[in-house]
């Protein structure tokens, strides 16, 4: 039971992370179109 929950949590976490990355890219693309700045790749990660 505990193990299955862990696995589900990890997989969901991975999916969530990918989702965040995709949505961040999309959002950055939108703001860039409106004349703001795009995603400053890498800089914000560290």
């Amino acid at each position: 039971m505990f193990e299955s929950l862990t696995v589900v949590a990890i997989v969901l976490g991975a999916l969530g992370y990918l989702g965040v990355r995709v949505s961040r890219t999309v959002r950055a693309a939108r703001t860039a179109k409106e004349g703001g700045c795009g995603e400053s790749c890498g800089c914000s990660d560290t």
Binding site: E3, S4, T6, V7, I10, V11, G13, A14, L15, Y17, L18, R21, T25, V26, A28, A29, R30, A32, K33, G36, C37, G38, E39, S40, C41, G42, C43, S44, D45, T46
Partner: protein, 726 residues
């Protein structure tokens, strides 16, 4: 990024007023200068290891920042601006430099102090950008760098006289040896308190009268008078773009100024260069002293050999052969070590965790998945070491010069050659190396075709298929059919890359062929520390991706290959159980769903599954085949069990599934198909990021897939027609 709203036109050039207030907090220093002045080495000497590398928002210009501590404990942040010959914004690099210095960059306030790095052995050309920056109304310190190499070449620059002429502090430095760094730091401290530099030459009367109204318009628009004077002179040669676009009446006044100048007998477009270089000539006359013999320099002598019409290209070819030989031979033991390490970690995790899904996730999913990517790190590091070394010695520009004629044949620049060559090891560093290509269209065309070069991730696929299905027959006495097949795959990819690049340059990325304008820097010994820092930054970038996106993807892929679970019939071998399990999973069902698509190529659903799973990375194909054929997922391309299974596999009617023809068609598919998440990610980033990057990456994936499918189809169907059934 706390001060992201700074950058309205009204504050332009007013930074010094903010200077003293910020002394108590953080001092912002920007480092700028011509390329090849040792600017990055100076930056490393100032900041040490405390630096971070990113991109300026929206563009693929590398943004390097670092910091050091002052004696009173407060931090000084240092921004290493890209190397620029002028502030005329003729390239993305120069545009970024100008925007940052004017305080108009979206997330960067204007610097408090500008450190201008100047090559002592080439003062004349270096002073052009200096003369422009002195007029920006920012505190400036000049670092007169490489005074040692200048002295060796018989050039002495009188730094005291230079300071008098330019009215700013001049510090002599030898960045490679760390000399003068402390003096430079002290000069940076003092800079804000000193009077601001300004233009120290008078314009000829007609020119002065002509630019006066343009300056007035700019001052009206909120520019600092000194900055306005610089911009007005610059505007004679350019159209008001970027931050100058949309200022009312500016273009009209600029056009009137140009007409007035032409009437007075001046060449309006050349007049800025004329007056600035005229002033520079006087400064050089007063400050540069030459001594010793004026014989041919060391660089001349080396160039006589390396740029020789016969030996030059030969030496270049020899060098490239050595680079490649070492990428494959030196990396071999390291890759084995990484493989062993990954395996060890897997075993450790396997024994620590109880049997079950969690263990499978950690061992088969995460560790094996991330491991299959990290294994390429040694090759990437070695390749970057070579590229960095050749770049630092000054040879890279010569290589581009030598290859220019050849690359021009397909409409590309000589600089496209190295990235394409790097693609043989791995497309990721190849695409990152395209940053040296200035023309955006050339750069895009190169990025589009780099993944066609057969990278080392394809080697496991080729080895498995060739080793199993291509007989080791001797051809023409000395050649082996297996080796020839491998060579043919490499040749196919290379030829396709050149042809496709030519097609792109003639259609989608059509544009005038970019003429070569390139400085050939003097040869010098590279600085080991700088070299290692650059390599570690690039390797870090690669590892970060393996640790984030690829990590997440492997987990998802594992889940797709594991769920939903099927009841396995008892008393079958482990391998057969694994196979049934996979067939019932989402991934297995997807493979069966795509079977109609891959059927025309002669593939069955199992190959379909392997292809789908290899979207993450090509070499996953081998591991998936291992899983499917029940020999365990730790099968590798040399596994005898897997090879026997493949040869013995038959369909319902009893005919073999795999024939040499299918093997060849499958290899051709992998030559062309873009199956690599790392490359996709790096293409998104390098083609501009955001939607634009995603569009280019998607486009690249699609055309490569279509090409791969058609080529595999032609090979299979053509082969059948020609009677190569078995």
């Amino acid at each position: 990024m706390e001060n992201s709203s700074t950058g309205s036109l009204a504050t332009t050039g007013l930074a010094p007023e903010a200077g003293p207030a910020q002394l108590t907090s953080q001092l912002r220093v920007a480092l700028i200068g011509n390329p090849n002045t040792g600017k990055s080495t100076l930056f490393n000497a100032l900041t040490g290891m405390r630096q971070r590398v990113g991109n300026y928002s929206g563009v693929t210009v590398e943004r390097v920042e670092g910091r050091y501590r002052r004696s009173n404990g407060t931090a000084v942040s240092v921004l290493d601006l890209p190397g620029t010959y002028s502030l005329s914004a003729t390239s993305p690099d120069e545009e970024i430099a100008l925007t940052v210095l004017l305080g108009l960059a979206p997330d960067l306030p204007a610097p408090d102090v500008v450190v201008l790095v100047v090559d002592a052995s080439n003062l004349e050309r270096n002073l052009f950008v200096v003369s422009q920056i002195l007029e920006l109304g920012l505190p400036v310190v000049i670092a007169l760098n490489q005074v040692d190499t200048a002295a060796a070449a018989g050039i002495r620059v009188d730094s005291v006289e230079l300071a008098m002429q330019l009215q700013v502090q001049v510090v002599e430095t030898v960045a490679t040896k760390g000399q003068g760094i402390d003096v430079l730091k002290r000069a940076i401290e003092r800079a804000s308190a000193l009077p601001l530099p300004e233009r120290s030459f008078e314009l000829p009367a007609p020119l002065f009268r002509a630019v006066q109204p343009v300056e007035a318009v700019l001052v009206q628009a909120g520019f600092h008078p000194s900055t306005a004077a610089m911009e007005a002179l610059r505007l004679l040669a350019i159209a008001p773009e970027g931050h100058l676009a949309g200022i009312p009446g500016l273009e009209g006044e600029a056009e009137r100024a140009r007409t007035a100048l032409e009437e007075a007998g001046y060449n309006a477009r050349a007049v800025e260069a004329e007056v600035r270089y005229g002033w520079i000539a006087e400064v050089v006359e007063a400050t540069v002293h030459r001594f010793g013999s004026a014989g041919s320099s060391r660089t001349d002598r080396i160039d006589a050999v390396l740029l020789h019409r016969v030996f030059g290209p030969l030496i270049f070819l020899l060098l490239m052969a050595i680079v490649f030989q070492s990428i494959f031979t030196w990396a071999e033991p390291l890759m084995t070590a990484v493989e062993g390490l990954v395996g060890g970690v897997g075993n450790l995790a396997g024994s620590a965790l109880p049997e079950g899904d969690l263990r499978s996730l950690v061992v088969d999913g995460v560790i094996a998945g991330v491991g299959s990517v990290v294994i390429f790190l040694p090759q990437i590091v070695i390749l970057f070491l070579f590229i960095g070394f050749l770049e630092a010695t000054g040879y890279m520009a010569r290589a581009a010069f030598i290859m220019d004629r050849f690359m021009r044949g397909v409409g590309l620049h000589g600089r496209s050659f190295i990235p394409m060559l790097s693609g043989y090891a791995c497309a990721v560093p190849g695409i990152m190396a395209t940053r040296t290509i200035e023309n955006p269209k050339d750069r895009l065309a190169t990025i589009m075709v780099v993944p066609l070069m057969s990278c080392s991730a394809r080697i496991p696929v080729y080895t498995l298929l060739i080793g199993t299905f291509i007989p080791p027959i001797a051809v023409a006495g000395i050649f082996n059919l297996q080796g020839l097949t491998l060579l043919a795959m490499y040749f196919l990819g290379t030829a396709a890359a050149l042809v496709v690049a030519g097609i792109f340059k003639k259609t989608l990325l059509k544009g005038p062929s970019q003429p070569m304008i390139m400085e050939l820097p003097p040869y010098r010994l590279p600085n080991l520390r700088s070299l290692l820092l650059t390599v570690s930054h690039r390797a870090g970038l690669f590892l970060r991706r393996a640790g984030t996106i690829i990590f997440a993807l492997t987990i998802v892929l594992w889940a797709l290959a594991t769920y939903p679970k099927t009841e396995v019939v008892a008393d079958v071998t482990d391998g057969a159980a694994q196979e049934q399990q996979l067939a019932g999973s989402i991934l297995g069902r997807a493979g069966q769903a795509v079977e109609p698509i891959v059927r025309p190529l002669g593939y069955d659903w199992k190959i379909g599954v392997s292809i789908i799973s290899s979207f993450a990375a090509r070499e996953v194909f081998v591991a998936t085949m291992g899983t499917i054929y029940g020999v365990g997922s730790d099968a590798d391309e040399t596994s005898v069990a897997l090879r026997e299974q493949l040869l013995a596999e038959t369909d319902a009617a009893g005919t073999p599934v795999y024939t040499p023809l299918i093997a060849v068609s499958l290899m051709v598919f992998y030559v062309f198909a873009m199956m690599c998440v790392s490359t996709n990610a790096v293409v998104v980033r390098e083609t501009g990021g955001g939607w634009k990057g995603v569009k280019w990456a998607a486009f690249q994936f699609l055309w490569m897939f279509v090409l791969a499918y058609s080529a595999a189809f032609v090979v299979y169907r053509g082969g059948l027609l020609l009677g190569f059934a078995a």
